[in-house]
Amino acid sequence: MRCPIDTRENAEFLLAYCSRKLDAASAAILEDHIRICPACREFARGQQAVWEALDVWEAAPVSPDFDRRLYQRIEKEVSWWDLLMRPFRPLRFRQGLPIAAAAGLVIVAGILLERPAAVPSANSPQSAQVDVVAPDQAEHALQEMEMMREFNRLVHSDAAEPKM
């Protein structure tokens, strides 16, 4: 066997051997080589020591309120869409409300908020451009609200059960 320490690229075999990731057949061949190669033997000994030393370094457990704090930060993430929908929240959308009815309500709101010019000027284009909210945006808003409800549920249940 060619000495793996000769080339840096081949040293990965020694690394894999020391971390016990080498397949049994390759490990056996390498062990035979290590027996007769002082450089590889020293490398393996040192790498084994590093591996065992790194094993000593255990990480502390995660704070029990980690999830609760994360969900609170997520709830504070207010999208522009959420700001737009906020005035309509007291209308209490029911879960089963058809998307078309929700989109219709938003379109009406869009039309009410964006009034076309009363008298188009002579030089302006004849077609008035009205910004309306597309149904997919309404669907997105409903998904956002559903996720917020889910997070609220998870936050309250998480406050009751501390996690690792």
Binding site: R8, E12, L15, S19, A49, A53, A59, A60, E77, E146
Partner: protein
């Protein structure tokens, strides 16, 4: 091993890892799937960040930012790589920024403190003697210092290789470099660590 789930999302029945499948459900508005991903990866992300910055409160703050960014990106998420690759790419990016922003100056102070950040080792079935505890603490300090001396990318590569058991290819994708560059990073990092820690054999 993550489960492999076939799905039509992504086109032509491509196989996705289970985490990517969960993230696609989050994209569709399934908040519970986000909770599953959080449960599964919370500890590994926090522990990786802790070993990178060696400060538990900072590590948890950065980990929160990682999951916040995952949540923010849900509407544009595409499973172009393993979910853990994406997750650790975000975590590594935040850790490297935190270290370069000078937080590491505070972090290095902690290595000299008798910091309560350090975990108390749980030795089952017996209480360690004072001597055993002091030997353990001395070893731990030496390991932490040795890792802290590694350049940022070498440190990240070693932590992913050793503690997350990532293959070279995945580490390369996380660090956005070639596989041979990862091997070089690891070779140099372990060379440094052998010089500092081999006497602990």
């Amino acid at each position: 091993m993550p489960e492999r789930v076939r799905t039509d999302v992504g086109g032509a029945g491509a196989a996705l890892d289970y985490d990517a499948e969960l993230m696609l459900r989050v994209k569709e508005g399934d908040g519970a799937s986000f909770g599953v991903l959080l449960d599964k990866h919370r500890s590994s992300v926090v522990h990786f960040l802790y070993r990178m910055v060696q400060n538990q409160p900072v590590a948890e703050e950065l980990a929160q930012e990682v999951f916040l960014r995952v949540y923010r990106s849900r509407s544009t998420y595409e499973p172009t790589a393993k979910f853990t690759t994406w997750l650790f790419r975000i975590a590594t990016h935040l850790a490297l920024n935190a270290i370069r922003d000078g937080k590491n100056e505070r972090l290095q102070e902690h290595l000299d403190d008798d910091s309560s950040d350090m975990p108390v080792r749980q030795i089952p079935d017996s209480q360690p003697s004072v001597e055993e505890f002091m030997v353990y603490q001395a070893k731990l300090d030496e390991v932490r210092r040795a890792v802290a001396t590694l350049p940022d990318k070498q440190r990240a590569a070693v932590l992913m290789h050793k503690y997350e058991e990532m293959e070279y290819a995945q580490i390369a994708k996380v660090l956005n470099c070639s596989e041979s560059a990862v091997k070089s990073l690891l070779f140099r990092a372990y060379e440094t660590l052998r010089a500092r820690l081999a006497h602990m054999a």
